[in-house]
């Protein structure tokens, strides 16, 4: 089995590494922050990150350096950094490990980002369920403040960088960057219409960068080893660096695996993950969190980078790979995910609010063998009318389980409906209600 150099998980995999400041410093931590404050200008930092080709690790994959470059330099008021630690995409659990095992890695990345974009205040928006992670981050912040890496006059540079932990309270949509900002402002977490983008009108209508935990954790390494080094890893030029892939479902060894982008799904599932957990073969997998359309065994040799997965008709998203074995009913799988999206729709846009509810009801009907022949048409029509008609990308994500399972396993829907037709009472036996 090929072994790969780890970047983000390297420290925490050392025996005895606790993630304390002392351990992190011993492993070379906060060297990048020193370098940046001593020898670099903010624009140079942005250039290095642009050169590295780093793209956001939260799901959308927007180039990080470009995002930073959008922050206006002449803004008279404050600017903000928000670290998106609202990890809620089903199938994803990498940020949790990065925060709980090596919190200073992401804090150093955040401090460097604050310097690059000229922010004095940063918030870590962490999902409300991650109490342990929040506690660990609070402790790490205390350590970093006491050691002068954060707070006023960071490392004698005269700069102020304050980072605070902000706990959410259970809402998937708050991982969407503008919903996150609304929530951080103490409101219902409903996405804002874009434009204007957070880069100009973000937190409190000030320029704001929102970056994922894993994105932040990459920054110190890019500073230490250079943009060219990072750009040489993975599948350049568009998918540089490593990803922490989260493997779940019917595999022998689920968990977090860091590899360069561009390995195949086969390698992740069968080599790193040890293959299927039983003798049943693989039937389907989700390549990038619940929002990513399902793929089939014939896609196993697709490379795990942004472009290749997109070409295969899905997306790499948050890097959460969920594997399903033969025997898993795809209508059931789609229903489970659809229930999630129905539960989590924020309710702002009608197509998503009403559509997810309608989709769940239709799927439940089919799954409970009460489906009607026209139900597949209902699904097709609804799935064609939600995407692109909502303020945020949730609407597009919500239909992907149904669209993709209908594409690959339409027969399973038809079989359930056929069964319903054979077992359900004939239409004249159905009581007619009159008003």
């Amino acid at each position: 089995m090929a072994t790969y150099e780890k970047i983000l998980l390297k420290n925490m995999e050392q025996p005895g590494y606790t993630g304390s400041l002392a351990d992190y410093e011993k492993a070379g931590g906060y060297r990048a922050l020193r370098t940046v404050l001593k020898d670099m200008k903010p624009d140079q930092v942005i250039e290095v990150v642009k050169k590295s080709g780093l793209r956001g690790r939260g799901g959308a994959g927007f180039p990080t350096g470009v995002k930073w470059g959008f922050i206006p330099k002449d803004h008279p008021g404050p600017k903000y950094l928000c670290c998106n630690a609202d990890e809620s995409e089903p199938g994803t659990f990498k940020d949790r490990q990065l925060m709980e095992r090596d919190p200073h890695q992401m804090l150093e990345g955040m401090a460097i980002t604050c310097f690059a974009i000229g922010a004095q205040t940063a918030y870590i928006y962490i999902r409300g369920e991650f109490r342990l992670g929040a506690k660990i981050l609070e402790k790490a912040l205390q350590e970093a403040n006491a050691a002068g890496y954060l707070g006023e006059n960071v490392l004698g540079s005269g700069l102020t960088i304050n980072i605070f932990v902000h706990l959410g309270a259970g809402a998937y949509i708050c991982g969407e960057e503008t919903a996150l900002l609304e929530s951080l402002e103490g409101k219902r977490g409903m996405p804002r219409f874009k434009p204007p983008f957070p880069a100009t009108h973000g937190l409190y209508q000030n320029p704001t960068v929102v970056n994922n935990v894993e994105t932040m954790a990459n920054i110190p390494h890019i500073i230490n080893r250079g943009g060219e080094w990072f750009a040489s890893i993975g599948s350049p030029p568009k998918s540089c660096g490593t990803r922490v892939f989260c493997l779940s479902g019917h595999v022998k060894r689920p968990g977090n695996y860091e590899t360069p982008m561009g390995i195949t799904f086969r390698e992740l599932i069968y080599e790193l993950g040890g293959g299927m957990r039983s003798d049943k073969p693989l039937k389907a997998f989700i390549p990038g969190g619940a929002s990513a359309p399902f793929l089939t065994p014939e896609h196993l040799d697709v490379k795990m980078d942004f472009e290749s997965v997109a070409l295969a008709g899905s997306m790499l998203g948050s890097g959460g790979v969920t594997v399903m074995e033969e025997g898993t009913n795809m209508v059931w799988a789609a229903l489970r995910l659809m229930e999630f999206f129905y539960h989590e729709s924020c309710g702002k846009c009608t197509p998503c609010r009403e559509g997810t509810s309608w989709l769940v009801q239709t799927l439940q009907r089919i799954w409970n063998k009460r489906g009607r022949p026209e139900d597949i048409g209902v699904l097709d029509e609804l799935c064609g009318n939600i995407p692109g008609r909502t303020v945020c990308a949730f609407g597009d994500a919500a239909v992907s389980p149904i669209v993709s399972t209908l594409r690959h396993w339409r027969g399973e829907y038809e079989a359930l409906i056929l069964e319903a037709q054979e077992t359900m009472p004939r239409s004249k036996e159905i009581p007619v209600f009159t008003h």
Binding site: P90, F93, E129, S183, E185, G186
Partner: protein, 189 residues
Amino acid sequence: MAIGPELLTSTNECFMLFERFKNEVDDILSRYPVKRSALLPLLNLAQREEGFVSESAMKEIAKILDLTPAQVFETVTFYTMFNLKPIGKFHLQVCKSLMCALVGSDDVVMWIQKKLGIAQGQTTADNIFTLSVVECLGSCGTGPMMQVNDDYYEQLSEEKVGRVLDDLKRDGTCSLKTGPFMYPQPLAK
């Protein structure tokens, strides 16, 4: 929860909760340039202390943040983690999203129901356990799992669930909870 007109109009009441945590409240307020941002942290604090977000806590928060009680209430109801009525001492939240369902989360719900004799959304007669079935908790590689108050319990089996419930009831805590998360553990070299 019935929210009567009194919540929306009353202004003078004897507020208690946040008096006791004045330092913590001040610390929270100092973190944000705009007061309203402290809303979720204060609600979290209220729930931590009382087990749920009470009407009087909402009024008190509204007063601290210069909001109307309605503004607080509209925000509270958006977030699933806030309980609007009292629940048991331990809140069992079992994840039922697809990734956990693939590895048996429905069984976990069944085991708990069998052992405690309560259905989803119910609390045991002794007010110790409340059972909820929830969406993804970010623990997909180590499912099936449940969250009990602040702690995660993962890779559950029927035996493990039984032990967690017994320990919690007897000792108020259980050593099987997950610490700082890393999975898989690196192989010993």
